[in-house]
Subunit: 603 residues, 2 copies
């Protein structure tokens, strides 16, 4: 632009302020049409709780109208402003925004084109009457002054722990004490919502300790922080499972998460009239009845193993188990190992077996998307979650919001170029894989790993070394479906015989509502339907389009029943919204839900 | 200043750059006189390891000359520059600086007057060849690729722990696993120095768990962070002892500090010829011999109780113990408790007893300095260690350096006005105390709490409520020395009889070299001399002036023997310098010590 043009063209700040001003004015005047007209034809408004008391993405002007028609009065939003100077690139203005509602304070993000708003993200960050006690509001700790009959912190905590579940009922019970349950438990504690996290293993972190020994995180540290207490500067990029386990264990303690170990939920029933759950927990040989108002399943994306059923499994004389039960390679030196599956667990397990001198065959049943860990870090996450991002001032909160500001519908557009870059960058690697006969895909539409994860939670491998073993033939590759097992081998559909001392079924995991079926009955499992997936009409993610993850972190068709989980990033980020929704209910703040998701699939 | 003057007067940046340029040029030319002349007549150069391989404050031009004459060649400093724009107030320029030496990178601070440098702080931050593996250099974690016979992280750690002290000897043994030993252990781990922290209690953190139950930290959270892993935003301002204990326990684990619990060092002897220690440790009924090159006593400022010896103690029929053994108030409801002492522990214990309905008498033997916790936080620490400091961009590292940049010699000048402000602010409080007969002081020279702490480690109370109980007579006050005990009372020098069921000797702690005497013999204890204190010729801090804390965090008169400790701030900050000194020795980097402290007092 020439200097003279600079003098007449309004700045990015003024253009954003103009839009926000008109948006706010329309909202204040309850002029829904005017507000909707501020959106481009192709536009998306993603609301995380603030307007809809839901996690909801609406599309276009009609979507915005519908949302506003339902929510505007009760939400009464105001105070829209930027929180820092907007930026501009490729004809799109980007702005970080803040705003208020009747009961909350929100933050968000706006992408503005000449035509109007392209993407708007509004997210609730805190409830006005119940700000989190941190920073300036952090608790004092020592109760200064003289308090007759004072109990020490430790005594109070012990008393609270004794009474929980007996004299005092929690408002929320969280089933599952992995990173999801723990992150949510910490948020609820912070917000003063009486809660209890129930974990069946003996120690917090065991869900990681009990995994195969070579397991390390595949997501880098900056992506993985838990709420409030980030990993320190000297934490490794990819933490080994036991290190994560130890961290989770101490986090649970220092964050004062109310947490029962060696405790198993055996059943849960909901009383529609009273709005209470009856949750039975087996603990130390005792059966305890809990009566919360809300029940959160945080049983894990890798919680419910998918164990296939092949003819001859009962004849097979060797060892066989699902990948979730694989102990690691130590016992299989010199043995023939056949691993069914070609995604993450399969690769990890095959590589570890190879490192310990087993003879390893991987049976690939369908194509897998592989991306090298370094490439994913660099091209996929680097702008938001990396040391260089940190150095440039990126905070975890901002990175999470940037991630969230991209509507799922258009995310492929943004991801496809990234994977094209990766494909070029690692061309030689993919060529070697292809030469070895590995069936590789880039996602149905070339949009790569993260979308495969969002759509189906599987079908990929973040390569940390196993792919080279496949490419150079050290791990043998076989293709096809399993037909049956014999006493000592696996027979594929085309008759290929694979002698085996060990068969590992790296065959994935089922939808979390499988747990609902187990604990609450099939009827309730069907009422809430399948968890996860976007309805993208891609492999294993049938339509219709949902707009958000099915059932995750938001109201379901079963009052009082919620799901929490996902990877560490999602456990961290979405635990805030789920905790706020539960806190609002605890405090009796009205939470009219807009656009409660419908159930299109049962599992 | 008028605008015309602005045009001719050089900016703060250029004046600092000018001084730094001339300083660097003089150093490069080895022109010691020229360098010394850049200092004001009344000036101080405090070096933390970078130049002197010591913690050393020198004074005036002669001090600077002496230091440079000894160190300049081997240190070969260069690259002096500001790291941010200097500021100016009251005729003094202040600048944060960076520089390099032959083997290290340093940071520092400069106060410049028209006459020359007033204060210069130079501190070593890292060894060039051994940068800490953090941030961009953080360990990868997962070893990517395929590694035959790979051990998992947990397996490697277990192997290391099995071998430590048996097959593999640590380079450094740290006696004492409280916050000092733990912070140092974490730094040494980070720097790759094989070390072992030996703790006699059963769990890390027990040194706090075992204290009287009402104990909370009296220093606020921002002051207390451990290295690498700060307390989170929602940590209380004043953490209860058990919360700190839990944090220390998990910190030890997640920071992978090599740490033995239930292990007691029984003796330590040094072989002058070989330069090795023989340290015997009793662990699980076994006697283990450790052979480190360096031995660090981190046994605590509150490690060696000072138990007085009064006639009649053996006759007294009630309970009596030192404050360090006080279990808390629970057993003393309705009992008569007499607490000897009027400083921190005495106040805490008296208040807790009062809260549990004991009849409490405090025997004040000498004056005490009291400051209200809120006032200390606000006026004493607020600019550096507070939420508002954090919001204004103050980091812990910077706050520590700002604190360190003030030479001990002139610290009183800076502290006296603060306490004058506090005296005014809390005038009513001090009046009530005086009316109750409490003997209050402001330090010998009115310089208040922190200097009392630095000079003698005691003689004060950070008031969190007990002082009001004294002021209003709920805690009875008696004055004088203890003459003797009878079967059921304490008799003071003036004949006052204080009936007692319980006597608590809140009579303080002894110098850490008492531990050296116990474990290594009196001769070695005398060789190193008294720990702590500045030689200020104030109460309990006899001269001559030392310039730095006696024996702390720096070379002592006993080769291979070191002391670490202090409050959480000092444990954090000074652990860096001690760790660097040990790392340099581990790597064989020359460490010529300038101005090794002489011993002026034995205890």
């Amino acid at each position: 632009m020439t200097q003279m043009q600079d003098k007449v063209a309004p700045s990015a700040q003024s253009r954003v302020d103009d839009w926000l001003g008109r948006f706010e004015a329309a909202l204040a005047a309850r002029d829904i049409d005017a507000a909707a007209a501020l959106f481009a034809v192709d536009s998306f408004w993603r609301d995380l709780v603030a307007f809809t008391w839901n996690l909801k993405t609406v599309e276009g002007r009609d979507g915005a109208s519908g949302l506003l028609a339902a929510c505007l009065d009760s939400i009464d939003p105001s105070g829209f402003r930027t929180s820092e100077p907007p930026t501009e690139a490729d004809g799109v203005l980007e702005a970080w925004i803040e705003f208020e509602t009747a009961t909350g304070r929100g933050k968000g993000h706006l992408r503005l084109k000449a035509e109007g708003a392209w993407t708007l993200l509004t997210s609730l960050r805190e409830l006005k009457d119940f700000p989190e006690p941190r920073a300036e509001l952090r608790p004092k700790g020592a109760r200064h002054g003289a308090v007759a009959g004072r109990l020490s912190w430790a005594e109070e905590l012990e008393l609270e722990q004794d009474r929980l579940g007996r004299r005092d009922q929690p408002f929320v019970v969280v089933i599952g004490g992995g990173q999801g349950g723990i992150a949510l438990g910490a948020r609820l504690r912070q917000l003063g919502v009486p809660a209890l996290v129930v974990e069946r293993n003996a120690r917090a972190g065991d869900s990681w300790r009990n995994r195969y020994k070579s397991l390390c995180l595949h997501d880098p540290v900056w992506y993985d922080h838990l709420p409030y207490l980030p990993f320190p500067e000297n934490w490794p990029v990819f933490a080994p499972k036991d290190k994560i386990a130890d961290w989770l264990e101490m986090y649970t303690r220092v964050m004062e998460v109310p947490y029962w170990t060696s405790s198993e939920v055996t059943s849960a029933a909901y009383d529609e009239e009273t709005g209470y759950w009856s949750v039975t927990v087996r603990r130390d040989g005792e059966e305890i009845l809990l009566r919360p108002r809300h029940l959160v399943f945080a049983t894990g994306m890798s919680g419910k193993p998918n164990l296939p059923s092949f003819p001859g499994m009962d004849e097979f004389a060797g060892e066989q188990h699902h990948s979730s039960r694989h102990p690691g390679p130590d016992a299989y030196r010199g043995k023939k190992a056949v691993v069914i599956g070609s995604n993450n667990s399969a690769h990890d397990i095959c590589a570890a077996l190879w490192e310990h001198d087993a003879e390893v065959t991987m049976v690939q049943r369908s194509s897998t998307h592989i991306v090298k860990s370094d490439s994913l870090m660099e091209f996929g996450l680097g702008d938001l979650y990396s040391e260089r991002a940190v150095r440039s001032g990126m905070t975890t909160e901002k990175a999470d919001m940037a991630f969230a500001s991209l509507p799922y519908r258009i995310m492929p557009e943004f991801q496809i170029p990234i994977y094209q870059k990766i494909r070029e960058h690692d061309a030689e690697f993919y060529e070697r894989l292809a030469k070895a006969g590995f069936q590789h895909d880039w996602g149905d539409d070339g949009s790569g790993l993260f979308l495969k994860y969002l759509r189906r939670g599987s079908g990929y491998y973040i390569d940390v070394g196993a792919a080279d073993l496949v490419a150079n033939g050290e791990i043998r590759l076989a293709h096809g479906q399993v037909d049956h097992l014999t006493r000592d081998s696996v027979i594929l559909g085309d008759g290929t015989e694979l002698p085996a001392d060990l068969v590992v079924y790296a065959t994935g995991y089922g939808s979390m509502n499988g747990w609902v079926a187990d604990l609450c009955g099939q009827a309730m499992a069907d009422r809430v339907g399948k968890c996860w997936g976007l309805g993208s009409e891609t492999t294993k993610d049938p339509g219709p389009w949902e707009g958000e993850q099915r059932n995750m972190w938001k109201p379901t068709q079963q009052p009082g029943l919620w799901f929490h989980g996902g990877n560490l990033h999602q456990s961290r980020h979405y635990s805030l919204y789920l905790a706020l929704q539960l806190k609002a209910r605890y405090e009796g703040i009205p939470t009219p839900v807009y656009g409660l998701q419908e159930v299109h699939h049962l599992s």
